[in-house]
Subunit: 399 residues, 2 copies
């Protein structure tokens, strides 16, 4: 459902304190015109941007809506540090949550939208314990917010594909049930057989003509080897533009020459990369990736779940994290982080948008003297627009 | 000025969701009793804690109140990356701020208090360009908030001591003008002569019987060497308990054996350490420092100034940063960060406080299911108490 809307008094990025405010007219879900003192066509709702900064809406390019406990009573963290311990801890606990996956995912997706995100790629765990239950919960959340955000869902083998019999079949069932992409997880480091793991992932992608998004925490030369394996399959199956590597710690844990090779490989195969701005891992080479033309997005990862207490559904907060973790002080670099969190992520999921006339009217207004100041202030969002409709204002979803 | 106060309905740390709420009676600035349904003595004001988490108030153990631009129009960052470029950039710009140092420091100290901090150690730059102007501004801010917070001021040679003639004399003048401690800055890496630099710092400290707080960004073996030089002077002058090393990047940039040696040296000489949870430097070995008994505090560093756009006067936000940068997920570790930010910093500045009867009633109430949840939520503070008086509520200073 698309809409018409006139937004009064905003300062579109790039901006500064002394730029005059403008109005933005949205028609049929697109940005129709940007100018001063625009007239409201008859019947078109008018909202006040309060002289805020106008940005493209955020894209959360890497969420785990199925696991969230945001809004529920806080539970102390009970897992050990290894991936296996985290997986087992989640299995022990997720069924006893006070709400269903659908309720929890719907709540957190709503908060995500209210904080300015209208494009989301969420992973949904598919494994022999939970079957398709978590996927169905995320699909229900997508449906509940269908008019407020565009949501892609990845069938994500959180427990590996090869370690538990039946997982590959479940992944295929997930694609038939509504998942948009096939996921993967550390084909070597966790599943212990990179070639067979990737053969299953890309086999399903080819058979069902879907994209791929692979969690690759494996670092150093082992991670770099798997980046090569992935690119080989992208070339063989002609899947340029349809594959994403999430986390991609390999890129920040090899030497500069090898890093350059990997970045060129990603660019050549148009493989996208997403990061969640982790607190302890070395940051990805953001500038080098962008200079090479690699599509690069930002995501929130899990949000207060059985894996970690962090995450609050706020992509502006996550953008701050990305800038802080990179030690960026210059406005141009902090604005690059905003670009990664908005247009960058949109390019990863294949729904580009922006602030130009004719673009999808997926927009965000936030208080702030400048874009950088808005990142530092992280004030509640004045307005969130999806396909020309106001979907949230002053931090709350519109009814 | 101390006060009496009855705080109703709070959950003192340690706590959990099912702990019954208690009341806290403060008398003559101290915690007099903690219990259920306490009676309010005649004339004692009563405030509602709203079932929030009760913590000791924060101690900002490393602030730069003199440089802040919080609350003023945002200015893009104009400095190059080196320390020298940052110093020169500040010199070019600070005099043209829209407000005086005193006004800016007073505003930011007020926001710091409203966010739950009632003990502060602030550095004030002393150099041949600004003379004692910045110090006087910070002293004025301290005076303006004298009833709301305890503030220590360090005479800080931000531009080195040896590089510009007259700085040592200015440092001495600063001590006579009201500074509490003598500062220092990278005796080797910036001032190029560690022995002479430290001789000036400790010479002034001995002559005026003041404490010392030295910025030591120098990393690796050069930083470790200076930790030794500092400890030698602490032993020679019998200054155990009176010296702090800020940043102390040496500790996270040497091998494990050398790190252990340095930590033992700090413990033996009772030299405190402060960190600001930087975004790119490796975190300090927090647990090892605490196990060894080294006093360890957290600070905010500069806040939106000519050095950096980061910093928002909120020590709860900074506590979140400390936990996030260390990758802590377990509640006990996140609560250790809270302890560093509250009691830890108080032990650095020598004003211990806590939640036990007889402690100074420097307290903080914040919404949250648990202490860890409060760190993740970072909600506005319900109540801030200093010496038994309510000094802020719901994010605003009380009149």
């Amino acid at each position: 459902m698309t809409g018409d809307l006139l937004i009064r008094s905003v300062r579109p990025w790039p901006n500064s304190l002394d730029v005059p405010t403008v109005d933005v007219l949205c028609s049929n879900g697109l940005v129709a015109s940007i100018g001063t003192a625009l007239a409201a066509p008859p019947g078109v709702p008018v909202v006040d941007g309060g002289n805020g900064v106008l940005l493209p809406s955020f894209t959360d390019a890497h969420a785990h809506l199925d696991s969230t406990r945001l809004g529920l009573p806080f539970r102390p963290h009970t897992a050990g540090p290894s991936l296996h311990e985290l997986i087992e801890n989640d299995r022990r606990n997720w069924r006893t949550a006070e709400q269903t996956v659908a309720q929890r995912a719907t709540h957190t997706l709503g908060r995500t939208i209210a904080a300015g995100t209208t494009q989301v790629r969420s992973h949904a765990q598919v494994d022999v314990d939970s079957g398709l239950e978590k996927l169905e919960g995320v699909l229900a959340a997508r449906e509940a917010h269908a008019d407020r955000a565009s949501v892609e869902v990845v069938a994500f083998p959180q427990c590996g594909i090869l370690r538990e019999k039946g997982t590959a079949d479940l992944l295929e069932a997930a694609l038939r049930a509504g998942a948009d992409l096939v996921g993967g997880l550390d084909p070597a480091g966790y599943d212990r057989d990179p070639v067979r793991h990737l053969d299953v992932v890309f086999g399903l992608a080819e058979k069902h003509q879907r994209g791929v998004d692979i969690h690759l925490h494996d670092a150093g030369s082992l991670g770099a080897f798997q980046v090569e394996l992935i690119c080989e399959r992208v070339a063989a199956l002609d899947m340029r533009g349809k594959v994403t590597i999430s986390h991609a710690f390999a890129l920040s844990t090899v030497d500069a020459d090898r890093q350059r090779e990997l970045i060129e490989l990603l660019a050549e195969h148009d493989v996208a990369v997403t990061t969640v701005a982790p607190g302890t891992r070395d940051p990805l080479p953001l500038r080098e990736l962008r200079w090479a033309g690699v599509r690069l997005g930002l995501g929130q990862d899990g949000m207060r779940d059985y894996w970690s207490p962090y995450g609050n559904a706020d992509m502006l907060d996550r953008t701050w994290q990305l800038a802080y973790r990179n030690g960026f002080r210059q406005d141009a670099l902090i604005e690059m982080c905003v670009d990664i969190a908005t247009r960058g992520g949109a390019s990863v999921i294949g729904h580009p948008h922006g602030l130009t006339e004719g673009s999808p009217a997926n927009l965000l207004v936030v208080p702030g003297d400048t874009v950088t100041a808005a990142v530092m202030d992280r004030a509640p969002r004045t307005l969130v627009v999806h396909k020309g409709r106001a979907v949230a204002a002053h931090g709350n979803l519109t009814p």
